[in-house]
Amino acid sequence: MESNEEGDDFVPIEKFLKMDHLEQYVYRVLDYTSRYNNSNSYYYAPINLVGKYAKYPSYGDFPEAYFLRSYGNWWKKSEGYQLDYRPQDFDPSGAEDYITLEFESAVVPRDIFIYEIYNPGSVVRIWGKSLCAPKCSWVLLWEGPPQIYPHKSRIFHPQMRKVNCLLNTIRLEFNQSHLQYHCSIDAVLLAGYQPSTNLQYNMMVKGLVDSFQKKPEVRKIMSDHIFDADSGGRDLFLNLPYEVIIHIFQYLDLKSLSRCAQVNKMWNEASVDPVLYQNLSLKPYWYLVNCNTLEYFMNKSKTLKKLDLSWCGNDSIEFKEFVAVFLRKDLRLKYINQWFQPSMSNLNKLVSLDLTSTDIQDNDLMTILKANKNLKHIIIDLCENLVRLDQIVEVVEKYNKNLTTWSSWKTSSLTAEGAKHFANCPHLKELDLGWCLINTDPGNCLERIASGCRQLKRLILSEWRGLNDYLLMPVIMACKELTQLDLLGIKNISSDLCEMALLMLPKLRLLDISFCEFVRQEEVEIWRQRYPHITIQRSCQYVVNDYLN
């Protein structure tokens, strides 16, 4: 994937082969890391990217388009957030999420049009999965920094790298950390050239038309100044004490390390030292990681302390099974992110457990909770197979005394009765119960929680439609540490209550009152001036009637 085909000698294949130009919208969504919807629901779901745009040129927060869940850096301020422990493997574009899209016909890609209809500017990379031999692998088509763009819908049309391979799968990577609110995408249009005959198609897939392209030269990796084995015959670098070499190598990213390993025997020895692989973050190299790479690292490093496998092996069942086997052997795991395997039930040293979007069931979760008494962070967002959440909260109340983070966003089985048990978790700082009590009367559960959890910093109550000023008041009176309060979609909240929250919560920094219909926009504007240190979120819908659509 390193080869840059866009040299002077690059000839676009459509120039010497008769091919048909084709424009197509997304046919199917294959994979994604972020979603705002329950799996049985299509509002805000990735599936909205299929077919022609539905809302463009309207701008705003519409359920008919794909909606990403996170925005800004609010979630990075959370207690349970894992800091980058391998800064050398840092991704300069800072991609946080991706979505993989399939198109009906394979084309040689030339143009891509991304219909962004809310907070545009988050696409940072575009990949294509080549169908052509010899390497059927991911090809980087475009890369760029996240963009600041005015609050308008737009068709994003980046200049893609010219390649001569056929592909029908595209992956978009997003970095939403600079956005003021969620971003939303309506459609993706791929334009390119399609082989006009089956013969042509088969020749391209087998790599037979490839000979027109010049093979890129292998780049020189190491500078001659540091190391010149031929002339001097002496590797000055290796005069350094071994510990110093290892120390220097610790600052290298994985790619440089593997290059060093190819220099000579001594360098190889140093660069594969297990000490260098105690903490691993393979997410930036997802397109290169498979069972073999993983096995190599696992054997290399018996002292593995941290391992980030995000984005790796998402299209491979073998990979998942491989990791499951590994988990069975290794019981030291402390942090788990968006992964569940039954073998995890053996773990007992967990501090942080993030099972977002997994299919974990009640009994497995309760076993894990009981075995890991030191658990501080429990995240079970979108876990739709959990049907006895009330019981799970009771287990947490009894066994996990140190609980600081609880997030069960968009789960459906919690009741107001169950939520009362959080009152007995005095260390609780972050409580995300968004979309948990959509259509039930919350009763006095917030009063109980407010009296028990005085340290609450983040409270997310999105779509608690039965909530009103009276029931929310105890929180504002008691939880003075609150920095984030999310009241999205609560119809009955009044302006008076919002103003009281702004006035009486000294540490408040974020207040989300989108779709709170009784709060007028003019009032929000006044508050934004009066309380400039507080971000007041309010989503909008500017409908543009497009009769041609």
């Binding site: 049985n40 629901s41 299509y42 259509n439 219909e517």
Partner: protein, 233 residues
């Protein structure tokens, strides 16, 4: 594949609770349309489409509250069959060469209280009539080229005598021209509206009231929506 047609009639009583009665029915139909565009429906099962759309409303960020009757019809050209789903007192009617060959049944709990899909505000669940979407009457029916299909709210059926509707529909038997269809649809809507304000007219609604022991006369001012289509195979 023909797109489905449907009407939904919001229940006006919600105005007293500060809820726009049109909102629920509007979103219900919009969501049906979107599900069809995304291919998330079975062409032989409009009641499932209605149910999916109803459950979807809960996931809207904007709290969509209220209740509504609904009628959705779907023409499957392959087997020349019309698939229908109806809940409450909106309905459809198929006319072939001057004869009504099929019409929907009204579903009422009691007089002037139709079956309805509803999403009441939390805490009001006990006080509100709410029928599950599977209470919809599903029907299917073979159609012929030229058949006239009318889908309308109760504002039409409660004010226009049966014979008057049939007289109008006959005019567009086999009609392929959209503007002529539109003209007849307009005249049906206008007649229904005019008669609904006629205080001396013995409307179908008044007859039905009389049969239920209520002595009333005149039309019934109500929301009026008319969808008119002809079968072209």
């Amino acid at each position: 594949m023909q797109p489905p047609r449907g009407v939904a009639d919001g229940v006006g009583g919600w105005r007293a609770y500060g809820i726009d009665p049109g909102e629920f029915s509007f979103h219900l139909m919009r969501t049906c349309e979107r599900l069809v565009k995304l291919g998330r429906f079975t062409p032989t099962n409009p009641s499932d489409l209605l149910a999916k759309s109803y459950y979807e409303l809960l996931h809207h960020k904007k709290a969509v509250l209220g209740s509504s009757t609904a009628c959705v019809v779907l023409l499957n050209k392959e087997n020349c069959t019309l698939y229908t789903a109806n809940i409450g007192d909106s309905g459809f009617m198929v006319v072939r060469r001057g004869r009504v060959v099929r019409r929907s049944e009204e579903q009422q709990h009691y007089f002037n209280t139709p079956f309805q899909l509803s999403l009441p505000p939390p805490g009001y669940q006990q006080d509100v009539l709410s029928d599950r979407p599977d209470a919809a009457i599903a029907d299917n029916f073979p159609v012929e080229d030229g058949d006239v299909i009318l889908v309308a709210t109760d504002g039409v059926f409660d004010n226009l005598p049966h014979s008057l509707i049939v007289n109008e529909l006959v005019k567009v038997q086999g009609e392929r021209c959209a503007s002529r269809l539109q003209m007849v649809a307009n005249s049906l809507a206008w007649m229904a509206r005019n008669l609904s304000f006629d205080e001396t007219f013995i409307s179908p609604f008044a007859e039905s009231a009389f049969a239920n022991g209520i002595n009333t006369i005149g039309g019934k001012p109500d929301d009026i929506t008319v969808i008119l289509a002809t079968v072209a195979i």
